[in-house]
């Protein structure tokens, strides 16, 4: 496969690796299985690289995240639709595809998550107050924004936003550092808290 080493930018390999992860997430979200998602990501990256060499994606557009993202998304969507069409042609003889699509199992993106990360999130959730877990449920299952939650709870939006940020930050730390997730349960573990990476602006979005 063509890869970033053929691009002129020094940061190309890292940017393409990040783009590859994004493509895998998008395809996994739509298709539900990791093998197909990886295939879509590889095929899309290959087409992007070819477009770059053919001049259809110039260096300025490649360096601009917004333009590269939009360009990659357009290609990825075509590749994903091709995969779905091919599945439809074989659906009569391959019932497993339907079973996959209709399965009530966990979100397909969890296929990208290690067992350690899953356990870390479970443990971190247990350290949250029932109220904060309820807040996350509203966020993740009812898709409520901080303002909507605040409206329901008759609390200031800023307070809800702060609580949500703290809860998500705790989960994020556990997620990014699963080997040290037990420290989340121990508020006095000052040393382990310091060892965590600097907090980024929080929010699952």
């Amino acid at each position: 496969m063509l890869l970033g080493s053929q691009m002129t930018s020094e940061e190309s390999p890292e940017r393409l690796a990040r783009l590859g992860r994004g493509l895998c997430i998008l395809a996994l979200h739509e298709l539900g299985d990791l093998d197909s998602a990886n295939d879509v990501a590889q095929e899309t990256l290959a087409r992007i690289t070819i477009a770059y060499h053919e001049g259809r994606l110039d260096d300025a557009r490649f360096r601009d995240d917004a333009q590269l993202g939009a360009f990659a998304r357009g290609i990825a969507r075509h590749v994903i639709v091709d995969v779905i069409r091919s599945r439809m042609r074989t659906v009569a003889t391959d019932s497993s595809t339907i079973a996959m699509v209709e399965s009530p199992a966990a979100d397909p993106l969890t296929a990208l998550v290690s067992r350690e990360q899953e356990c870390a999130i479970h443990d971190a959730l247990k350290t949250l107050s029932p109220a904060d877990r309820a807040l996350l449920r509203m966020t993740f299952f009812e898709n409520a924004t901080s303002e909507q939650v605040a409206e329901r709870l008759h609390e200031p939006a800023a307070r809800i936003r702060k609580r949500k940020e703290r809860a998500l930050e705790r989960l994020r730390r556990a997620f990014l550092h699963p080997q040290s997730h037990t420290s989340v349960a121990a508020p006095t573990s000052f040393r382990s808290t310091l060892s965590l990476e600097p907090s980024r602006a929080s929010g699952v979005g």
Binding site: L26, D65, P104, E118, P130, E142, R152, V204
Partner: protein, 265 residues
């Protein structure tokens, strides 16, 4: 189509990652968000973390999952009931696949409507009954009913509210909370009747929410057109009246968009 690029702050402010995972983003928002996260490591982390958190929250909910446990959105966090929505991803995934393939099968669309009617918490009762002009016994029964309501004993609350109405307290609060209690018991048809009583009474502080929850009840019954009509009426009311809470209005608009996403116009 060219869109203004998103920032991570936009993503956070509009809960785009969570809505993307729930497959409730309108198509143009989904397109913008996808273009953004493809090159954004932070939002990629947010998506995988969000998916893992959703799965963990779902697993932590031990209450049996039935259509009967669908309930109304609301206020009091301490009373948060476990999520009953493991079936949302199933229907949403099917809906997304159908949308990508460019056709809409009637059964699939109506099947996808039902989760949109799901609710997890009853609307809160603030304990300020309007007593003017009501029979004393009706008020006493109403108070008892709302004690049961606060304790989430829906059947008992509904029975007492019916008794209060029969005893003369046939006003908007009684019918509204009867509808809410019935909705919590997944008795969507009777809930619709109760909310209709509120709506037919004209403009009261309960009218907007009655429209919203009647729409939810219709969705539980897979009556997308009726739900869409109630939401349209509520959104119109938001334009012409000044008593629609912003949270109710925002919820109605989001729900209307979601209905459109699953194919009911």
């Amino acid at each position: 189509m060219q869109y203004l690029p998103l920032t991570c702050d936009d993503v956070e402010r509009s809960s785009l990652a969570g809505r993307f995972l729930a497959r409730t983003l309108p198509l143009d928002d989904a397109e913008r968000f996808e273009s953004h996260f493809l090159t954004c490591e932070r939002c990629q982390h947010a998506l995988t973390l969000g998916a893992t958190t959703r799965a963990a929250l779902r697993e932590s909910s031990h209450v049996a999952t039935t259509a009967a446990s669908a309930a109304v959105a609301s206020v009091h966090m301490a009373r948060a009931s476990p999520s009953h929505r493991w079936w949302i991803p199933m229907s949403a995934a099917a809906a997304a696949l159908i949308a990508v393939l460019g056709y809409r099968a009637g059964n699939a669309s109506t099947r996808s409507l039902q989760p949109l009617g799901a609710v997890t918490q009853a609307p809160v009762y603030l304990g300020v009954p309007v007593r003017a002009g009501n029979d004393e016994r009706g008020i006493a029964v109403f108070d008892s009913a709302m004690t049961e309501y606060a304790a989430q004993r829906w059947q008992s609350s509904a029975q007492l509210l019916r008794a209060a109405i029969a005893a003369g307290k046939s006003d908007s609060p009684s019918h509204f909370f009867l509808g809410a209690a019935l909705l919590m018991r997944a008795d969507a048809r009777d809930a619709i009747a109760a909310f209709s009583e509120v709506i037919s009474a004209g403009s009261t502080p309960y009218t907007s929410e009655a429209l919203l929850y009647r729409a939810k009840a219709h969705l539980q019954l897979r009556e997308g057109a009726e739900a869409a009509a109630d939401l349209a009426r509520l959104i119109d009311r938001d334009v012409t009246a000044d008593d629609v809470p912003s949270g109710v209005s925002a919820h109605a608009r989001a729900l209307r968009d979601s209905i459109r996403v699953v194919g009911v116009r």
